[in-house]
Each structure stands twice: as C-alpha cells, then as structure tokens.
C-alpha cells in the first residue's frame, strides 16, 4: 500500500517511483487478504484497474444493447410474428411482442448504447487507462474521484436494469424522453416508474461523467511528464482533453433538465407541461410550461454528447493509423484545431435536431448555417487521415483494419449529415430511417469500430498478451460486412420516408413494400451480433493464453509503450522524459523506423529537421 499513500505530486518528475516497488499491487499475490483483494480489484484507485472495470462493464452492456437491437429489428422485419427464444416472455400475447414492449425496446436500446456503452467506454475505459500512461504520469490527479466515477455507474446500472422489471416496464418515450409523453405518468405504459428510474439513472451517469471529466482535465494539464508539452500530446489525449471540456460545460444543463423533468413527474412543477393538456382523458400537469424547452435543454447537452461519443475514437484512430502506416500524422496541428473547432461549434448546433419541432423557423436558419460549418473540421480531419496513409508502409493488422474502416465509414456518416443539415430536405427525412442510418454510421460504424481498433491495439498493454490476429481479422471482416448490410440500406428506407420507431409500418400504402428489405437488414444485424462471439472468445482466450507481448509490440512511439505490459501500480519503472512529438516514424537516416518520445535525441532527427527547413 506504500505507493497508494504516497502523495500524488503535481509534478511526477520530482517523485520517481522505485522501479522494484510499484508492482506489488497489480500482480496477484498467492495469499491475499480480502481487504487487499477489494482495494486492488474492486475499490481500486489505480487508473488502469478502473479503466478495465469500465471496459468490462461497458462490454457487458454492449451485449445487452445489441440484443435489444436484435429484438427491435425482429419486430421491424416480421411484425407481430412469434419471437424466437424470447417468445416465452410474451406468453400473454401469444409469443408476439406488444407495441408498448417495442417502444420500450428502442428506447432502452438507445439509452443503453449511449449512456452505458459509448460514453463510458470512450471516456471511462480508454480515457482512464490511457491518459496517465500516454502523458507519463503515475496515476490520475484525483484517484479517489476516479474510483467514484466508476462506482457512480453502478446506481445507473441498477436504475436502468431494474426498470425493466417494474410495473409498466422500462422507459418507453424514446431516449430523448420528450415531454409530455415522458412527464405525464399516464401517457404510456413505460411512463410510470420506468421513466422515473430512467431519469435517476441518467443523473448518475452524469455524475460519473462529471467526476471523470474534472479529473481528466486536471491530470492532462498538471501531470504531464517532463518535456511533454501540449503540442507533443498524442491525438488520443487531445481528444480526451477536449471531450472532458465538452462534458464539463454541457452536462450541468442535462442534469438540471433531468431534475426539472423529475419534479414535473413527482411534484407537478409543470416546467414542460402546457396549459390544459389532456392525456388519456385526464387533465395533466399544472400548465404554464413548454414542451419545447426540454428539447432545447436536452439537445444542448446531447448534441455536444454526439462529439463526446466520437472525438476520443477519432483521437485513437489517428494514433493507430500512424503506427501502422509507419508515418507521421499528416497535419498534427490542423488535427488538434479541428477537434477544438468541432467542440466549439458543437455547442451552437443543437437546434438542428429541432428544425420541425415548432421552433421559430428563422432560428432554424441560424442553426442550419452553424451545422453546415461543422462539416468543415470533419472534412479537414478526413483529408488528414488520408494524407497520413499516403506514402506510408501500411501493415494490415486487425487494429489497423478497424482504424481504416473508421475513416471509410465516417466519410459516409459525415456526408449523410449534410442532407439533414439542409433544412428543407430535413422536412422530409426527419424522423425517418435516413437519420437512423446517419447516426449508426457515426456511432456504430465510426465509434464502435474505433473502439475495437483501440481494444486490439492496446490489449497488449492492458493484459500483457496479444490478441489473435487471424480471428481478429475474421471478426473484422464479418462485422464490417454485416454492418454495411444493416445500415447502408437504411438510407434507402429513409428516402422512401420510412419512419423510425413504428412497431409496424406496413399497413401504410407508402411503406407496405419495404418488408423484404427490412428482413434483409435484420438478417445482417443477426449476423453482426453473432460475429461478436468470435471477438468474445478471442478476447478472453487471449487474456489468459495469448502470446506474451513485450513492452512495445507495435514499435509505436507514445509513452505507454515504454511501460511494462501490463504496467504495475505507478505505471513507469523509470522517469519518462519526452524529447519529441508522438509521431516520429520513418525518420530518414535513422536505423529503426520509429523514434519513441523517450528516445534520446538522434542525429538523424536534426538532419531531417534541417532538410525540412532548407
């Protein structure tokens, strides 16, 4: 415990760890007391353990969210037909799912994926694991806060999890939880206890994110290793830093809005209830409120949250692309500035979710212009990724394939966004499958693929072993193929105007011929979820049986690869000193094709720099 009680000095340079001492925490001892076990693996303050706790928890929820998605797809493809396997749960409906069950499914699919998977896996798992390692710190600035940020997820897991089993079922008002459907307790089966639990869960996720965000900002600002200037930070850390700023500024609004909705529901404050509202033949709410107010507050957080859900993946992908293209990142500073640009503009585009909400159409125009402009930094990033691959020596590892697919898929997701940014087009495609296609390309084909890239890439650092490359590529091929089969076709559904969230749309003349296409998409979705078995087996098998990885299995440059794999408590067994940026690959005249950030100055560098300036 000596290293835990040791004060976390603001400058780790002054407090180097004894290289022999730090490992007593991470290595399981043969005889371990219960309290040591609890403090090492359960209530640990070590950022790596917390990161892995986030990783395992979010992967479990990823599975749950994926199964919820399959149930949604089942109903969309074959409405009112008996549900296989799970059909016994719906015995009272003769094995089919009820429409209120379907609305609950898509609500909880989105809720689980956004609040329990994507946000915590990026910031919680990767942010926690990577930030201290990549900046050369021994841990986070506030280890206790860090531990709490994980344990505040558990009340959220509990509230969301238990809400499936309360009367009326889990929340069923859509993940956006628009009032009055969500504020009135009689408006839908899921708007009873389920919705209250949903709001409590959301608040807990918010508390967790806020604790993490404060910690990340402080750590990155104060605890960088000597020589690690801000513009020597890897893109992953830049992305995590800017994400943390986004979280810190946007979250309070959502938390406040969540409490307003909670008090609307519990004590009738009526922030969001209009005058004289009659729901289910009963007067509802105190009146004097405005449903659109919720939408403004909700999207003021949830639009920046879209960037919270992709920026860290962009950062990780930038690092992975450079490693396996053996080439410096193309346009490091423009990449940093464009992340900052996305984050800044991200605060003034929330209204594009509300073009047809009844918001003043003139206000819609200003949001439209801002939204068009946010395509710009995204384009700059894409071009720079292409520039990074250009002229490289590409090694097709699994991590690289996932990273390249992130770029390829983000192009689709980015371009489809332009359609809905155009306000007149949005009139037609709003709330259709075009939108569903768009955000799945950004969040699944983008972020989730980036997350897999990150898992394959940093797995050796996390567990000291390498994942199996062959099965990794099988996993990649199946996921990539099936995801495009599932999501690309959604654009076509959207062009027909096929609306989201309908339990059965085939009784409409406009949509009755779309069932075969939907069935195809559902088969692809089933394939996509099934292929994750390959990943799961590879993940757990490699954790215990994979080939032992060295400190730097990919010959990468950043600081985490100088630490042991897995790093012991305190991370580094020497004091890292940084001499250069993170992307010095293939320096001409250098005997190896990479120069780690800690490698002492190399004569070839000076020559290359002189040649560049000549």
């Amino acid at each position: 415990m000596s290293t835990v009680t040791q004060p976390h000095a603001p400058s780790p340079a002054t407090a180097p760890h004894d290289p022999r001492a730090p490992h007593d925490q991470a290595v399981p001892q043969r005889s371990m007391s219960l309290s040591t076990f609890l403090s090492t693996y359960v209530f640990s303050k070590d950022h790596k353990v917390i990161g892995l706790q986030f990783l395992f928890s979010t992967l479990v929820w990823f599975l749950i969210g994926g199964l919820l998605a399959l149930a949604v797809r089942w109903q969309v493809a074959w409405p009112w037909s008996d549900v296989p396997v799970l059909g016994k749960l719906f015995a009272q409906q003769g094995g089919q799912m009820a429409p209120e069950f379907y609305t609950m499914l898509f609500t909880m699919h989105a809720t689980v994926m956004i609040f329990l998977v994507i946000i915590p896996i990026l910031a919680g798992a990767f942010g926690n694991f990577l930030i201290p390692l990549m900046i050369g710190a021994d841990d986070m600035a506030f280890p206790t806060l860090n531990m709490l940020s994980y344990w505040f997820m558990w009340p959220a897991f509990f509230f969301f999890g238990v809400s499936f089993f309360v009367e009326g079922g889990a929340a069923a008002g859509g993940w956006t939880s628009y009032p009055p459907l969500s504020t009135s307790t009689v408006s839908a089966p899921g708007s009873g206890m389920g919705q209250t639990l949903w709001l409590l869960g959301l608040t807990m996720v918010g508390v967790s994110s806020m604790l993490g965000s404060v910690n990340y900002m402080t750590t990155i600002i104060l605890m960088r290793a000597p020589g690690m200037t801000m513009f020597r930070l890897p893109m992953t850390i830049w992305a995590m830093f800017i994400t943390a700023i986004l979280q810190a500024f946007a979250l309070p609004v959502l938390t406040a809005a969540g409490f307003m909705q909670l008090t609307d529901r519990l004590i009738g404050t009526g922030f969001f209830s209009p005058e004289g509202n009659i729901i289910n033949n009963a007067m509802s709410g105190a009146g004097g409120g405005q449903p659109i107010l919720w939408q403004h507050l909700f999207w003021f957080y949830s639009h920046p949250a879209v960037y919270i859900m992709i920026l860290p993946a962009m950062g990780m992908v930038s690092d992975i692309l450079t490693t396996f293209a053996r080439k410096p990142l193309f346009g490091y500073r423009p990449m940093v500035y464009s992340i900052a640009g996305i984050a800044g503009l991200g605060f003034i585009v929330w209204g594009h979710h509300m073009f047809i909400s009844g918001m003043n159409p003139a206000l819609g125009i200003t949001f439209m212009v801002a939204t068009m402009m946010i395509a710009l930094p995204s384009a700059v990033k894409t071009f720079n990724w292409l520039g990074t691959i250009w002229g490289g020596r590409i090694h097709y590892t699994t991590a690289m394939l996932f990273a390249i697919s992130f770029v390829s898929m983000f192009i689709i997701g980015g371009l489809s966004g332009i359609f809905m940014a155009a306000t007149p087009v949005d009139i037609f495609i709003h709330d259709t499958y075009f939108i569903v296609a768009h955000f799945h390309y950004v969040l699944f084909a983008g972020t989730a693929m980036g997350v897999w890239a990150g898992i394959y890439y940093w797995f050796p650092k996390m567990f000291g072993r390498t994942m199996n490359e062959f099965w990794g590529k099988v996993h990649f091929f199946l996921t990539f193929t099936f995801l495009n089969g599932t999501f690309f076709t959604m654009h076509i559904l959207g062009a027909v105007g096929f609306p989201r969230r309908l339990a059965d749309a085939y009784h409409y003349e406009t949509f009755h011929h779309l069932q075969p296409l939907n069935a195809f998409m559902t088969w692809c979705a089933i394939g996509m979820v099934t292929s994750q078995i390959v990943f799961a087996i590879n993940f757990f098998w490699s954790m215990f049986r994979g080939p032992i990885a060295g400190r730097n299995p990919w010959n990468a440059n950043t600081l985490e690869w100088t630490a042991p794999s897995p790093p012991g408590h305190g991370n580094f067994d020497f004091q890292p000193v940084v001499y250069r940026g993170p992307y010095e690959y293939s320096v001409p005249g250098c005997e190896k094709d990479y120069l780690m950030q800690t490698d002492p100055p190399h004569p070839a560098e000076a020559a290359a720099a002189a040649a560049a300036h000549a």
Binding site: E100, W554, Y594
Partner: protein
C-alpha cells in the same frame, strides 16, 4: 517482472526475431493487402450501386404531389450528387492508398512528412465555400415552405391525439371555432391546385404530422398552434403518418389525405355537413377537440 527486464534488455520492444519481421512489425503478405484494399473498394462500388438500383425497385421517394416538394427533391438530388462525388473520390483514394502503400508491396521507406500548409489551406477553403454556398442556396426554399405563410384564414384544423388525427373544417362561415364547424377523424380532404393552410395542434403529447407525398412534416406541440401549408398538384389518396413517438399506439396513428378537384371537395364537404346535421347535438356538447 523478469519478462519486462528481458524486453528492456532486448531493446527491440520484445518482439521475437525472425525473417518475417521487417522493421520490427510483422510483414504481411501482398495478397492480403490486395484483399483488404478490394474489400474497401466494395464500399464505394456497392454504395453507389445501391443508390442507383433502389429507384428501379420502387425503393425511392414516394410520388411527389405538391408544389414545394419539387424543390425539396431537387435539393436532395443536388446534395446527393455533391456528396456522392466526395464519397467516391475519398473512398477511391482510400482504396488506392491501401493498395499502393501496402508494406508488402515495396521496400521503400515511408515518406517522412508532417503535413502541408498549402494542402490544409486548400482543403479548408474549398469545403468551407461549398458548405456556405449550400447554406445560402437552400434558405429560400426553407422560407417558402416554413416562413412565407399564405395570407388566408386556416382551411382546416388538425388536432393530434393519442392515436388519431381530429380534423375540423370551418364550415360555411369559413371561421374555425364556430358552431357550424365540421368534424371528421383521420380523413383529410384537400382541394387540388389551391393553397391549403392547416392549423396544427395537439391535445396530449407530441406528434408529428407527416405527409410523405406532400413532402410535409411538422411536429404538433400541445399548447402551440402550428401553421402548415402546401399546394397539392395531383388528385389521389395518400398516407398521413405520425412521425414523432407518441406512445404505444404510435404505429397505428394513421390518417388519409384525399386530394380532389374543387367540385369534389365541395360535394364531400356538403355530405359531411348533412351527416353531421342529422346527428347534431347542442352547442354545449361540442366534442372535446372543439375546445380551444
């Protein structure tokens, strides 16, 4: 921790030495680089094919029967071509780079370059100008559809409610909210070639009044009166869809809009009026939708 020490001493990142390890990283086989680049080539090929083929199987826009729908569709096509070109260009470049710069394809070292100021300027300014053009180009269409309301009193009122569309026509006095109003559910009739102005309301929760064939969508918000207007160009009967989740019955909140000639429309109104008079109740028993 002996393993770590060995790694450090080896100084090569701990990788096993061997012929296949060039520059410390596993040297892939050329065919695998080719295979992976071809997989990524399928993205632009199949992606474009999907959009080209879909209309031939009737998987495309529903028939447009409105005046403003044309400008929405044209704008969609304009953006489709614009983004399609960028999509093809970037995805093909990605494929080409993957094919050409495969480490197994040549022994040339990677180019040591950190970026290009000129390129950054070019690929910042061109998209910026394009997006700004697009933003300005569409404003007029938006203003026509959602801001320049025709100067007329509402032709009808639509009140959304879980899970039906309650429709009210102003009757002979052409004023909503008077005793001669005509009431009907889920069956909107509209005269062709005339401006039609709907006053959209909701009784309970959010709904969205979606007319796919008229390219019109507007959320119905309780406590607000939304104006919705359009001019139909062809007769026929089409769907009214609810596009904002409104509860368990959201999927079945279906209405129909019938576009017909002025004469047919007047005949239909007269028939509704006669039916309603035959079952008329006192003014104090006006159905709930009539209460403002």
């Amino acid at each position: 921790m002996d393993q770590d020490k060995r790694d450090r001493d080896a100084g090569s990142g701990g990788n096993p030495p061997g012929d296949s390890w060039v520059n410390g990283l596993p040297q892939g086989r050329r065919w695998s680089g080719i295979a992976w680049s071809l997989l990524f080539l399928l993205v632009p090929v199949l992606g474009t094919a999907t959009f080209v083929i879909a209309p031939y199987y009737n998987h495309w826009f529903p028939k447009d029967v409105s005046v403003h729908g044309r400008s929405i569709d044209d704008l969609f096509y304009f953006i489709l071509v614009l983004t399609g070109v960028i999509f093809l260009a970037t995805e093909l470049i990605l494929f080409w780079f993957m094919w050409k710069y495969d480490a197994a394809a040549s022994s040339k070292p990677a180019t040591y370059i950190h970026g290009s100021h000129a390129l950054e300027v070019v690929w910042t300014i061109i998209p910026a100008a394009t997006m700004l053009f697009l933003a300005i180009y569409q404003m007029n269409t938006w203003a026509d559809i959602k801001m320049r309301r025709p100067r007329m009193s509402p032709s009808a009122e639509v009140v959304a409610r879980q899970f039906e569309w309650r429709i009210r026509y102003p009757g002979r006095d052409e004023t909503l909210g008077t005793p001669d109003d005509l009431f009907i559910v889920n069956d909107l009739h509209v005269p062709v070639d005339e401006d039609f102005l709907i006053q959209l309301k909701s009784m309970d929760v959010l709904h969205s009044f979606f007319l796919p064939n008229l390219r019109m969508k507007q959320d119905a918000v309780p406590g607000m009166k939304q104006p919705v207007w359009f001019k139909a160009t062809e007769t026929g009967t089409y769907d009214i869809v609810c596009a904002e989740v409104c509860g368990w019955g959201h999927y079945k909140m279906k209405g129909r809009v019938t576009i017909e000639s002025r004469a047919d429309f007047d005949r239909w109104l007269a028939r509704i009026e006669a039916e309603q008079k035959a079952t008329q109740r006192g003014p104090d028993e006006i159905p709930i939708a009539a209460a403002d």
